[in-house]
Amino acid sequence: MTNHDLIQSLTEKFGEKITGVNEPYGLLTFETTKDIIINVLAFLKEDSLIRFNFLTDITAVHYPEKKHGIAVVYHLHSMVNKMRIRIKVFIDGHHPEIPSATTLWNAANWMERETYDFFGVKFEGHPDLRRILNMDDLGVFPMLKQYPLEDPNRVDKKDEYFGR
């Protein structure tokens, strides 16, 4: 099983909904849409040849300048074929919603809670979508790019002083 075979069987199954295929540092990466993400994950998990049985990680990335501003990123691992794969789903940055993967892996539970906590991504069908690391009444989703790390009124650390 190589990356090429894998992407072929995926396009056979899901057609043009598999986009943006590339291989940064040998790790197969593609994009898909949020309405078929659970089907894609289930196919990858349950297909007898592919067998991505292990959910390594779920996280998100914020791209404020893009139309679909939040990318939810899944890392799967096939211990049988010694392969990893990365799946990205770009969703609306203002109302981020995506189906939950907890139906497939229990491991997704806290990963999705963490993603909700920091990016505000609502995972539909998640059994217990609460904040996990931040306090309940924080009110913002701190990993979004509009929230600065430090007090924005500080004047001694501006990039312009360093020629940038």
Binding site: F54, V61, D128
Partner: protein, 402 residues
């Protein structure tokens, strides 16, 4: 708001709610479990974490690469060198830096020492929680010896910040090698004694065997990695499946358990310490065949030069300035790199936009993912069993909360 529901069916109001933590001695870290007890049996539980959340991922988005190493120290602070090396290797993979073999072997030695110190903590604490204080105090002195080795190499003990991107900040000195050799001679004796006190100990076996058993399917479903997953019978080890730092040159075995209970986890960790000793011995042997004095790759544009060079050499001054001010050219790409940490697969997902700092850095922290099974699996367990279950999962609060 959004309060968890603790109450099950309790018409006669007989259940007791117990706050285990945030700073209970039995939790060995700052995290809380609100559990409901029927006598001594746990009916339900809710884990609350985040007490030492320090927003590392947000901080990392504002720091150049070399300043992120100290953040990784504070993830699993019982084996910080593994985290440091994992981060360095992530960046080196991004920058396509080829490391000299000698550096790889030095890294293996220091990472395996860190693994031993991590496993010492976990296994002695399991014993401590079952009532065997002797082993805890006895084996813990070797953790001190490991810290002395770190001290000789980098000057720090707990949060080591060891190495640089592209190698080490300095070569191991003779005292460090002497201390490693001394450790290799003395530790096996103590570890054998430790095993003879516990492995066939009736009380220890009664407390741990068949307690909190986990099947391989469950373990994979909950995303377990590391010694916990291996104790359930899955032979997954990042060192073997995705070798880094020349682990493929070494000869070692991956111990695997069968039932995933606490006794198996203890045995797996013990055997891993023996394997780590083998790895260190092989590393020391391999170093003899490598040219002396090489402790970093020849990549002046990424490797922070020595201070003396900076003061006396124009090129070094330029590179020093560029690295410190974050002006180095880095490829716009994304990368996932993982290492076998003390508790499992420690992953770094780095998105680089070519700027001064990472665009996004996510840590896949094994403790965080392993721990989510604790509350569901505690249901129906005795409170005293749940406590040793927690210590056998080796949950490190720094890694849990990032």
């Amino acid at each position: 708001m959004n309060q968890p529901i603790y109450t099950d069916n309790d018409p006669q109001n007989e259940l007791v709610t117990l706050n285990l933590g945030p700073t209970h001695p039995a939790t060995h870290g700052v995290f809380q479990n609100v559990i409901q007890l029927d006598g001594e049996r746990i009916v339900s539980g809710v884990s609350t974490i985040g007490y030492i959340h320090r927003a590392f991922e947000k901080i990392a988005e504002h720091r150049p690469f070399y300043q992120i190493t100290p953040l990784t120290d504070r993830l699993n602070y019982c084996s910080s060198p593994i985290n440091n090396m994992g981060w360095h290797m992530t960046v080196e993979k991004l920058l396509n830096i080829k490391m000299p073999k000698r550096v790889d072997y030095l890294r293996v030695i220091i990472m395996e020492l860190a693994r031993i110190s991590d496993h010492i903590i976990c296994n002695t604490i399991i014993a401590q929680d079952t009532g065997a204080t002797t082993t805890f105090l006895y084996l813990f002195q070797f953790r001190e010896h490991i810290y002395e080795i770190y001290e000789e190499i980098c000057g720090a003990r707990l949060t080591t910040n060891i190495g640089r991107i592209g190698g080490f900040e300095r070569d191991f000195n003779e005292i460090a090698f002497a201390k490693i050799n001394k450790f290799l001679k003395e530790f096996p004796v103590a570890l054998r004694e430790f095993e003879s006190l516990l492995n066939r100990n009736r009380i220890f076996i009664d407390r741990t065997a068949k307690v909190a058993a986990v099947s391989a399917e469950q373990a994979l479903d909950y995303g377990w990695t590391g010694p916990l997953l291996r104790s359930a019978g899955v032979d997954y080890d990042v060192r073997v499946s995705d070798p880094y730092a020349s682990y493929e040159d070494f000869d070692f075995e991956v111990p695997v358990g069968t039932s995933g209970d606490i006794y198996d986890r203890y045995l797996v960790r013990n055997e891993e310490m023996w394997q780590s000793l083998r790895l260190i011995e092989q590393g020391m042997e391999k170093l003899k065949h490598e040219p002396k004095g090489i402790f970093h790759a020849d990549v002046p544009e990424f490797y922070l030069p020595a201070k003396e060079e900076v003061y006396n050499n124009m090129e070094a001054l330029i590179y020093h300035f560029k690295i410190v001010m974050g002006e180095i050219d880095t490829p716009k790409s994304e990368i996932y790199h993982s290492v076998e940490g003390g508790n499992g697969e420690l992953g770094f997902y780095l998105i680089n936009d070519g700027g001064r700092t990472p665009y996004r850095l996510h840590f896949r922290r094994p403790s965080f993912i392993n721990y989510q099974m604790f509350a569901p699996m505690s249901k129906g367990m005795l409170l005293s069993d749940a406590i040793i279950n927690m210590s056998s999962m080796n949950i490190i609060a720094g890694e849990l909360d990032a």
